[in-house]
Symmetry: C2
Amino acid sequence: MKKLNMGPETLLFPMPACLIGANVEGKANFMTAAWCGIANSNPPMLTVGIQHHRYTYKGIQQNGNFSVNVPSEDLVKETDYCGIVSGSNDDKTETCKFTVFYGKLKTAPLIEECPINLECKVMHVLNLGSHALVVGLIEETHVSAECMVDGEPDASRVKPIIYGRGAQKTYFKLGEPLAPAFKIGKELKKKE
Amino acid sequence: MKKLNMGPETLLFPMPACLIGANVEGKANFMTAAWCGIANSNPPMLTVGIQHHRYTYKGIQQNGNFSVNVPSEDLVKETDYCGIVSGSNDDKTETCKFTVFYGKLKTAPLIEECPINLECKVMHVLNLGSHALVVGLIEETHVSAECMVDGEPDASRVKPIIYGRGAQKTYFKLGEPLAPAFKIGKELKKKE
């Protein structure tokens, strides 16, 4: 199999397309982030990489908290918009017609239209260079009722947006179920 | 829209299904991780959350480096297997019939059959509780030639595995292209 070397590149597939929320000077603002991932289970934590100059980052510093909102397919236009326009120039909440609500942390703005909302408290910030890596403690999780199946959110109902880096820089839909996790691999185990 | 509170939960959609590689006592070992994400662009860095007791983690500590391999759909059985069996009990490379190669870092094992391979040097380790958050500097990127389109890897050819937490714990395929990134949002901009 022929391999090409590309040098150091941020090439991970898939990446999420999330909306990071923070109150900046008391007003809700949201930015798009693909550089977001789960970090720890007990207690639940996640990371998000944010450029230092971002307007949303200012809000994260002001409040010591932020939100991660998982948009669904039907919000792809709004999700992209929040990645190309700065909150310093536009009230993105208004432009995107987001319904904002607040939960346990009181100052981390949540988007009602997004099926999943995580409220996070800043635990660590690592200055990595171009980006600050913010480690957030997940304090509360809100899930839209219609996405629940057997007491758990169902990925096929959440319909998350997947960011695919590459020549085209394209958002993708979640595809068909491929195989059951923690199960299909056992077939290989039996063979041995 | 009715929202349910689930308490603090690691609910992010989508999550990748990656194979983290490290040499343990000189022998290649791989574990599956969904808790992996990009952290920084300049220089390129990523994070992976790993339980302290993991066999692969031992190798990361021994060498100060590791790999992140992005498997494609056809490796779903092997990917799942590497998440349910420990390298302390099995030579997963042999069971999965992986062709291992080494690159720039010499001791970070890479899987030829995976379309994307990232070689990473450990930069930071944060002990977050259940998991160590390993921040890796991406030193080299290898891409299978057949996944390249216009000099960039193409998500539709990589065919990454998407892990969907939820009632079913299912791996999903990447779906159809939804919209062009850094473009579709401009429609909203013009309307204002």
